[in-house]
Symmetry: C3
Subunit: 427 residues, 3 copies
């Protein structure tokens, strides 16, 4: 449970708000690289931390991220022409490069130098792991080291990424994501006689019951584990990484001591578009020799309810608040816990069902919410750190080698002794 | 005409408002029994007095009416599973019974007793007359006697009920309903050469012209009559019952001294969903030996513009503000006064056309608005009564035998002498 | 650039606001005459300066413009019956004539004179040039001389008019209209190999480059010219008229000294519906002997993106903010500057793209915005004049003979000497 003031501080991200200032210390995913597929392709709108922006890829392939509105008379640059290393406003032909310089003004005489005196807000960008990242700190301030997550630096054959737009505040999506307790409840199938995606009723994840959580704070956020008692078979231990401010890694097939055939980790980033909308970036990667094929990726996405038949062109799911997330009550009765198709679509449903910004003054947390409580604590501390002029955790490049691993450990084994080294390989 | 303060006091029904506190003294219709057709069927959302609720019918057939949001982390219980005598949140498996007790928490260890310490808001319910009623008073307070209206207690064969959702404040719907003056104007047909529903141009209701109103306050609200001069044929007298806070009874075929073939009374309840939406419950019943057949009921509903072809699944009419209530200007010119199909659809149109909450500081009332004026007066008095710790009229069971009767009386006859006994039969 | 206070003062037009009071000094277009095609036809809704009104044409052909809501209990008169010289509310049958008198009340006894004591707000109207105009000044105040623009008084064969609804504040539409600099940029085609409407790449308008503006204030607003240097061919001079508060005239084929085959002028009126919506009236007329045929008019409208296939029945374009104005990025790359179909549709796109009310504190104006700056100055002065009890420019009938002319002048010729007389013929 939070006070109203804490809830406001954690959820608002406009410039000048506590969390808005924290967010502006990091490289943030702004769009998928594939949304700007080639030089001089059409610009797109981007909404990030409450700011209205437009992104374009120039003739040299560089990505510009500008204020959406032309500084002349505020026409939208979304309508602009992407021409010879600059985005040109269609209203009076003002043209801007990726750094925000005005190169030309068609409504000025040829000898005018007025264009040298007017610029446009432009954020530095870089591309990593199939995403375009932006640094939205104060103009001229030094961007942090690049977001070289392992997933973002493996070969393209070993990594896939997608995104989906959720109509709720970023924090309740993050909290849903780092909450391991819900997974084998919300996402379970309730019969073996179903072809619906979900966590099987006979898996260790489900039969292990409510987990015991342990959370270890690190210099980039924290790592945490959910330990489920499998009786004499041992303990099912799932480890996660939370990297500030909104990244999570979780094991997919990253088995301890060869318990899984592959070495695949998955994760999310829950990025605030504005206070009532967030964009969720979803990635998987292999850190083993095996790539992840297009077929495997397609199957993963369909399982999560993000297949081509599940999504609208605007990155919203076809199931959404307006249609009760296409809940099927017969399926809910006989096949899956929710009756909603796709694991991620189930997350979307519960998170959006709480309303745009959930009222955390009313909640009743349990021991299984420990990771959520810790994330809030770190975020509030980070707000104080930034207000005091410091840099929050996760800006310094201490997270580059973080991994998330799972496995069944012998009864009584110490997960830290067994797994910490695997979670931070020294390469 | 009301002051702005009075208009606010009468129209707002959130908890803590004057009228909100009045409403919370009564049993209120919350849904149709048929919306929860069987034990363990899917839960539905209910919006009542500005509160967001969820209703479910448990394994034993009891109806629960709970806060929509799970007290753990506020996921919507609309997504919940209706299981073995409880509604279970899909997020972490918290399960609640119809009384609001938490029976189980799937994210807690088996030995945890945390579930005994967290409950959910639950309102007492009962079923009468095809509706589920809720008492939304303070937790633990004593509900009033059951709403044993005669219509609600006759056999099912003799009673029918439906509901429709109107996008305006409850009070302007109530005022439209208790206003007998508009009926032969708004609802009239303007030719005998039409098959449209309406009040015929040659009926006593129309030819009688503007009525003289008389209003007698009772201990549950008031009874009132509209007297129309039929010349030497006598006086056409229509009596009505207004039962606090939002019930009305009106004669349908409840003829004085055998003037009608049957003994059928109709009525409405105008229930606030929130300040800009109300749900209207429509009923008819026979207090004579004859039942009302499904065919008769179907014809009644079609005549009111509430037939299966007229309604959307969400209880909105297909004609609504967005499409100008499907007004047909040719029909309006040649067949009916409004060109809108269905008597009740005509009421919806004028009431919604005023806006969400009509500005009563601008109105100019006439003598024919006497019943409206009296209702406002009683409601404002009730607000004072409740503020002083008392119970408002219509809570005590003095309305159980109230009826509404109509007929043509000989010129000069005293309607009270002729009809009062029929309006309050003692057996 | 404006201060926030100036921006508010210029954009808000509700009664009591500075610009609202200025607007209420003029005759204002309220609807097209063709929207009320015949006596006793159905009434329509009109939104003007933030007021909700209803217009009807009575049995004698006169147009009434009344408060939308009946003064009895505020039912909408849009639902009303247009009967024998009056509009009758369907709720209780109150009937009003075009002057706002109540003629009858069906819910009152025959001998009642209550109807003589209740009127409804009614604005004086007149018809000119295919439009119905309203004077919305204080009740009883003297309307100004009629809006006898030349275009409004030529024979119907020589004049055409249309309207379209734009979802942004009136001032940014006006500013787009009086801004000659954008026309050969926004509206240009970028190849000769296209059949899309636009200003051709080889026209004087485009090759002349950024214009030099000159603005001469008049007693009704101002006249201004855009002068484009055609090198040894001379100067391309285009003159315009701005008539307070929102009219503009521009040359279409109104050639200087026979340089055009016809004598056709076009123009717009940007009329505030409310602060976030304006209705644009578009007219063309011939002041020469030749009429403008229906075929010519159809071609003009299609070229502007206002053809029958381009518009919705509610006067919105099919391309609008919700669908990115149907921008075609391939067309934008290879055929037209914007990829948006129709010259006026391009104006709609840039003006709506700025948002409902553009934030003029952020803009960076250039010399080519001189006409815009001057219009703001006149409007702010007019607000002061009206606040001081005076009448603003453009109310007195000094604009009746104003015209807009264009042509190529010999190098060094004085446009005032050559053209002023043509712009103000003494008939």
């Amino acid at each position: 449970m939070l006070s109203h003031i804490e809830n406001e501080a954690l959820t608002r991200t406009d410039r000048g708000t506590p969390m808005g200032e924290v967010m502006r210390c990091y490289w943030m995913p702004a769009l998928l690289s594939s949304e700007l597929p080639e030089p001089d392709c059409p610009p797109i709108r981007v909404r990030l931390l409450g700011e209205e922006l437009v992104a374009f890829r120039d003739t040299q392939g560089r990505v510009g991220l500008l204020d959406e509105f032309c500084p002349h008379r505020m026409a939208s640059l979304f309508l602009g022409r992407n021409e010879e290393c600059g985005l040109r406003c269609v209203y009076h032909g003002w043209k801007f490069d990726v750094d925000g310089n005005c190169l030309d003004m068609m409504n000025e005489p040829p000898d005018s130098d007025y264009h040298t005196k007017v610029g446009i807000k432009a954020y530095p960008t870089l591309e990593r792991g199939g995403a375009v990242w932006a640094y939205m700190g104060e103009p001229g301030s030094q961007p942090p080291p690049p977001p070289n997550f392992e997933w973002a630096t493996v070969p393209e054959t070993h990594r896939h990424i997608s995104k989906n737009w959720q109509k709720c505040n970023w924090l309740q999506s993050l909290e849903g994501g780092i909450d391991t307790a819900h997974a084998p409840i919300l996402h379970r199938t309730i019969t073996t006689d179903t072809d619906k995606a979900g966590i099987g009723i006979n898996t260790d994840f489900v039969t292990g019951g409510a987990p015991t959580l342990e959370v270890d704070v690190t210099d980039y956020g924290y790592q945490y584990v959910g330990i489920r008692d499998l009786g004499e078979r041992g303990d099912f231990v799932r480890t996660y990484q939370y990297i500030m401010p909104f990244h999570q890694m979780r094991p997919r097939q990253s088995g301890y001591k060869g318990q899984a055939a592959k070495q695949v980790i998955a994760g999310h980033m829950w990025v605030p578009m504005d206070d009532s909308n967030c964009m969720i970036y979803n990635w998987v990667y292999s850190f083993g020799p095996e790539p992840i094929t297009e077929e495997e990726w397609g199957e993963i996405e369909r399982g999560y309810g993000r297949g081509p038949d599940d999504m609208l062109p605007n990155f919203r799911g076809k199931g959404n608040r307006e249609n009760d997330w296409l809940i099927d009550r017969q399926v809910q009765k006989y096949e899956t816990f929710t009756g909603i198709n796709g694991i991620n679509a189930q997350d979307v449903a519960v998170q959006e069902s709480m309303g745009a910004i959930v009222d955390r003054t009313r909640e009743n947390l349990t021991r299984s919410d420990m990771a959520i409580i810790q994330a809030r604590r770190l975020l509030l501390q980070a707000a104080q750190t930034v207000a005091d002029g410091g840099l929050p955790p996760g800006v310094a490049p201490t997270y580059y080698n973080a991994r998330a691993i799972e496995g069944v450990l012998p009864k009584g084994a110490d997960w830290r002794a067994e797994m910490l080294e695997l979670m931070h390989p020294t390469s």
